[in-house]
Assembly symmetry: C2
């Protein structure tokens, strides 16, 4: 067994699990993917893997222990599983009362709750940023466009707002345009918040021209970054462009960028800035 053994990657949907797997292997460690049936991309079968159903953590735990896995990371989204798709095993049935509570609070609560249960099975939970730090959003501007002075002020306002919202466990995103807080993300998610701002502009209720304003996202203060660090990819840039924003600012180190080259290509093509920022942004 190599130092620490392989890293177990519990894979939800999207391209993010492959990015983490590649980054971990580039550091010389083995990976074993546990692919969630109905969510994980079948292309992930190119790695050492096991398929499992979301409700069958008991079987995953047994296979992971047998393979010498001590560290587990979970990446990729889980959208609205139905109970009959879960494939409940006895480990999960015992935990059902707690799981039922988790389900009521939306995806983020579900994800973090399930991961808490994984930890109880005897594994060390790691964040994607810990096992693959090169995927973390760096500080600074990523593409060829940078934020204007006004955009920098909007970013600072948005960061302050997200940090203020932290104790209320509210979503991590906000749209700020020329000093106005135009939209705050709660349970609806970033995409829907961006669409809402775009619609407020198109309907004329907000009269900002296109190419102004910023999507600002940051992890909640005290948020467990091993669990639900937001990821930032080309789709978010496209949504921000459709909404008419000037750019995107995520807290530096507070988001995962699965594919920086693809992100930059889209941002440059659409004319948006993408910046990693911290509280010291001037």
């Amino acid at each position: 067994m190599s130092a620490g053994g392989p890293i177990g990657i519990v894979a939800g949907n999207g391209a993010f699990p492959a990015a983490v797997a590649d980054a971990v292997r580039a550091q010389g460690r083995d990976v074993v993917l546990f692919l969630i049936r109905g969510f994980a991309d079948p292309a992930l079968e190119r790695y050492e893997h096991h398929w499992f159903r979301l409700g069958s953590l008991g079987s995953v735990a047994a296979k992971a222990k047998a393979r010498g896995i001590q560290q587990v990371v979970m990446v990729g989204g889980l959208t609205r599983p139905r109970v009959r798709d879960l494939g409940l095993d006895w480990t999960m049935v015992r935990l059902l009362p707690r799981i039922a509570r988790l389900f009521r609070g939306g995806d983020n609560h579900l994800l973090s709750g399930v991961l808490g249960l994984v930890a109880e099975q005897g594994f060390q939970l790691c964040g994607a940023h810990e096992v693959a730090p090169r995927l973390l959003l760096p500080a600074g501007v990523l593409g060829s466009h940078g934020p204007s002075a006004q955009a920098r002020r909007d970013i600072a306002l948005g960061l302050g707002l997200v940090q203020t919202l932290g104790p209320f466990d509210v979503g991590q995103g906000v749209v700020v345009v020329d000093g106005l807080v135009a939209a705050v993300e709660a349970a609806e998610g970033t995409d829907q918040m961006l669409a809402r701002y775009g619609e407020l502009r198109r309907s004329g209720r907000l009269r900002f021209p296109a190419g102004r304003g910023v999507l600002v996202k940051a992890p909640k203060p005290g948020q467990d970054r091993r669990v639900d660090l937001p990821s930032l990819g080309p789709a978010t840039v496209e949504r921000a462009a459709e909404a008419g924003l000037a750019g995107i600012a995520f807290e530096a180190g507070g988001a995962i960028v699965p594919d920086a080259a693809a992100l930059i290509a889209v941002a440059d093509r659409l004319g948006l800035f993408v910046a990693g920022v911290d509280e010291g942004l001037s």
Copy 2:
């Protein structure tokens, strides 16, 4: 001229201007309504009145001064005026650069900005709650349904959140369900926020049963209550019921109830509670 002269009521749309006019007259003071063309209800012509276009504050000021009016209150909504509907006069043209800025920030900014300009014309701006205090939402439960213990906790969480958002000049509303902040109102307004929560439930992204959760609204800390104290009527109760909430809590004294009997009738029929609450809510 009676003590202080008549009260001038600048009337936007809705039933609210008539409620204020009746409440003022019940206290023995005269009213003169200045009806905003394209917005005010023509039924308001039953009061002493002048029609004017939104951009013609200069003519309003002259008429009001000639009638001995010293105090002015503005009530009713102004939805998305188009520039060509404004009927700009020279007083307004001089102020256009400031007005142009106001327009970009949405309805609330527009309303408060225009009122600031009215004050500069030499009138005392009053709030509807000052000239007609009996229209203010009282503390306590208004209808026959009261909040559960969980709803009271949700109300307290929502009030705290709205107060925290105050310095960011963000909207005054939030939906809290069983301890989860499900939606935060910014530029989109209360109705759209309620519709969003209802859609999150119907789509299954949030799995709260109907009849749980609370719409909480409060004036922003430091907000000028003479200008945009929210009003609370049967339509808001209907929207909250459609969204699947258990009830509505507005800060006591922080909202205008144009027609309490109609509000209570709808709330009782739909099974929702309506409460005026303060920070001391237990």
